[in-house]
Subunit: 118 residues, 2 copies
DNA sequence: TCCATGTTTCCATTATTATCGAAATGTCGA
DNA sequence: TCGACATTTCGATAATAATGGAAACATGGA
């Protein structure tokens, strides 16, 4: 994951509504949750929800799929791992003591996919 | 770490210059680096550097100390750990598979300090 | 085809954040 | 105390992000 994409992910999560969306999706696995349900639970107007979830989507943190009239959103495990790896590489690579108990797991090198990178 | 503080940390890192400051500090341990040196290395005007580094400081991610005429900045290990814990709690707590190899380390509960929480 | 339902796009408005020169503040040495 | 140096604050301006109603688009059922 390159810097630019990491910044998108950080920005995406750096907003109250979006962090809530993220946390909500965290509890709904690969099945995910319909846009309408998310909007309902978080009491957001449809247009606002749509705007924010697109932000998360562009950042590579959520996936969407249509199912009937609904669009279901779920977390993107690959995206999350890339993002977390990026952060941890910096912290634990440069100053392992920053990561405390997270230290042990950092030997894993950042993986590179064939071409999919946007 | 509560949501509000986590959002500050995410916002703080979600900016090209600030992410670079962070990464630079990562390579300078507890000794840290003077404001002027950071500005020089990143080619930022002093006022701009000062603005951004305050953002990181408010987010609890960096520490500052004066030494002679200089102000030295370094990463705040406590702040980083709280921040990373917050993120990992959500991901690995809700959907462990998101964290992949990071999974193992999550049994650790979020620690709570006596009163320092802002 | 027509309608109800679910979602997204458009777009105007408002709010927040970034930029950086100039002035102010703090520190040291002479 | 003065002057050089290091950094921060001020303040005006520019750039970017958020909000949400209304209109457009997509889907499925009758």
């Amino acid at each position: 994951m390159e810097e630019h994409q990491a910044i998108r992910a950080l920005s995406a999560l750096a907003h109250e509504s979006r962090l809530r969306i993220f946390r909500l999706l965290t509890r709904h696995g690969t099945e995910g949750l319909a846009a309408g349900k998310i909007a309902e639970q978080l009491e957001l107007p449809a247009a606002t929800l749509s705007f924010h979830i697109k932000e998360l989507s562009n950042a590579g943190l959520v996936l969407d799929r249509r199912e009937g009239r609904s669009v279901l959103y779920s977390l993107n495990a690959d995206g999350m791992q890339n993002f977390l790896s990026f952060l941890l590489d910096d912290c634990c690579g440069g100053q392992p003591e920053l990561c405390g108990p997270l230290y042990q797991l950092k030997p894993k090198p950042r993986r590179k996919r064939a071409s999919k990178e946007a």
